[in-house]
Subunit: 332 residues, 2 copies
């Protein structure tokens, strides 16, 4: 196995020199569940860390049907045509590789997939959101060390993964369809409030007028939200991936956002905040796993949950019994 | 000390007979930090539980200046005048009793505080949000066992306490001022999306027209949100506590909401969901406390946090080191 033969320094040198094949192998190592791969991956990441952090990280979400692939292709080409290097990653905790995952089919992005300045990486196979998030964040480190200027993190706008993506990017972009009705869009509550930029896709042909109306509606709705901490007023744009209309404007707006937030230091503060967030989030998730995966707890939990639901026990008394059991169990 | 002399059955009998003095002493027991009080309180709560659950629980929030006290007084009198018994509790994790707390000054509600069908309980003294939430939820059990038909949970619209209140009530009411600008209102992101009913206060005199405009604006904004799981479309109302205008309408709308959600069973499902939520929330908070209050962890955390912020270590590697240390420590 070739992967096992590369040393940590082989990986690091390859990645730092921009070798895409070695970058891909490094990410595969990060995604591996084998402990020996995990150990090497951690050393590679640690040595790449001082060279990371220089890209612009953009989160892109929107439900299936919004035209995410064609949008990413159009925006990606816009970026690479300026001589910038673009990496496209994905978070899709629900996917299983065998069932096909987002970005799994590179042929969806015909132009970008053969663009020498672009690197498209399919989403890792299914796992817990925490696990998938860790792998993606570590993959960002390797991509940045390999010299990518812009990193896209794609996700599907239907679940918790938006919050995870929002917590690892500098700029969060929400794609919307005009006139589809929010029920159809399937956007979860709170997602719209996370967006720095809302792009209404497929603003062409017979759809153009609806798109313009949606833009006006969302613009006035966004004004009712409390001001964002970033000091940036979220913008609403329309675009057509088909006619390449408004795509340059999306990239210019992202660039404006980055410039504004670097100027007022929100950018730097957010990055630091995110680093701490993921440290604490990882700790908290591991503490919960240790508790809920404990077999003695699982049996008692089922029983006490019934007592709580039938009003025999308060939520707090049940929790206390479970906690006592858990800590006794750990000491044994 | 009188409190120590009452037995568990004295408390339970007193509360079930609607004795307000004993109810108050029971809540004081819940709020006490003494372990012996805690043991008695748990027994009292357990015996009250089968008699609890029959009230309508209403969360009321809004920033200082919105007129919360006069609103609660006006709405409260509306309710008690129909022969219903009303208890008013408060959650205010930031308050310290010595510095004055919300509801602490009963004279703010001149009529309600002497109404025989109303019981106003000042917020417990400062503590963790989890602790304060537990005390409030347990106090609801005692109030319901004492025969209260409606329970208000008041909170200040400036922090995390809204989420806690939202997770323990059937209906969540947000008070807003017209034309104050969202910056001034200080409403946190996401709070508006939690509301089942938005009431624009001080809709009287020169303010009336502004209030009507705000109502139209918020109504159209709420339509842009995805539909609520409750099957209920959040409403916007205007009211004047001064002129008692629109107050009956607020109560009728709350009653409609309760009827609708009981009919479609969202009400019952939400209660069960909340019981589970608080069990899991209590467990998760205790797990976090056990970790972060550990002295060995605190020292290492400070060091590793610096390493993460200076890019010497990833968030995940730091988390793993801390977790290893913690679990080793627990076994010792």
């Amino acid at each position: 196995n070739k992967k096992d033969k590369l040393s940590v320094s082989d990986y690091v040198e390859g990645i730092l020199s921009g070798n895409i094949s070695i970058l891909s192998q490094g990410i595969t190592l990060i995604e591996s569940s084998l402990p020996k791969h995990h150990i090497i991956a951690q050393q590679v990441i640690e040595q790449c860390l001082p060279h990371a952090g220089k890209s612009v990280r953009v989160g892109i979400t929107g439900v299936p049907g919004v035209g995410k692939s064609t949008f990413i292709e159009a925006l990606g080409v816009q970026i690479t045509s300026q001589g910038k290097k673009l990496a496209v990653l994905a978070i899709d905790p629900s996917s299983e590789r065998s069932k096909g995952s987002i970005l799994g089919d590179k042929t969806r992005m015909e132009v970008l997939s053969v663009d020498p300045n672009a690197y498209i990486r399919p989403s890792p196979s299914a796992g817990s959101l925490g696990g998938v998030a860790r792998k993606t964040r570590e993959s960002i480190v390797l991509c940045e060390a390999a010299g990518f200027d812009v990193v896209f993190i794609e996700t599907v706008g239907v679940g918790q993964s938006e919050t995870a993506v929002h917590s690892m990017v500098d700029c969060f972009l929400l794609l919307m369809l005009a006139g589809a009705g929010d029920e159809l869009q399937g956007i979860k509550r709170g997602i719209m409030e996370m967006a720095d930029l809302l792009a209404i896709t497929k603003a062409d042909g017979a759809n153009l007028q609806k798109a313009m109306m949606a833009k006006a509606e969302y613009t006035s709705a966004l004004h009712l939200y409390p001001p964002a901490e970033s000091g940036w007023d979220p913008r609403v744009l329309t675009c057509s991936s088909l006619e390449k209309d408004g795509i340059a404007d999306v990239w210019n707006t992202i660039s404006d956002y980055i410039a504004t937030t670097k100027e007022n230091e929100f950018f730097q503060n957010k990055r630091q905040h995110q680093s701490k967030y993921w440290m604490f989030e990882t700790i908290n998730e591991s503490l919960r796993e240790s508790f809920y995966d404990n077999v003695a707890i699982q049996n008692l939990l089922t029983k006490l949950e019934e007592d709580v639901l039938s009003n025999k026990l308060t939520s707090f008394a049940a929790a206390q019994m479970l906690l006592d059991k858990y800590f006794d169990n750990l000491k044994e």
